[in-house]
Symmetry: C2
């Protein structure tokens, strides 16, 4: 599935709801999902871990839509030609 | 660009480096990117905002790879048929 298609799918499911909730509140939901991902990592819950990765991506896509940002376009622009800092793949940055 | 292709692209750039850094340390990098996204939101920096959304997705993909998780597969499984709670699109959950 294309990133853009996934973002549209999430818009179809949640855009109206998230628009009413607002950008700041939706950022808090994304943060909560990051917390749930941390918990699944800490507890080594494999099934939960898969779901939490999916949830973080879904909320990230939803928040991006509230800002009118095309995730696919932005990741292609920043990472499409290797590391954005050293311009190599694999990355050769010191840090 | 497909989600799976993006995850592979990020693996090509960062997998070796992130493997050496380790899962927990890579989670901290992801969290740092969430913080940078928060700052870009707070300062209403549009160009920075686009980059930070891209960075969060890149680090999420990289961390998923360290756990052997296929992001595309997991988001399709969880969100491919609408809201995973009410099974509708648009979502009709009360919360």
């Amino acid at each position: 599935m294309k990133i853009s298609k996934f973002q549209k799918l999430i818009e179809e499911i949640y855009f109206n709801k998230d628009s009413k909730r607002g950008r700041e509140a939706t950022f808090i939901w994304l943060s909560e999902e990051i917390g749930e991902l941390a918990r699944a990592i800490r507890h080594s819950e494999e099934a939960k871990l898969k779901e939490e990765f999916a949830d973080v991506l879904a909320w990230l896509a939803s928040l991006a839509s509230l800002y009118g940002i095309d995730l696919e376009k932005e990741v292609a622009a920043k990472y499409g030609k290797g590391c954005p800092k050293c311009h190599r793949s694999p990355c050769e940055c010191l840090e």
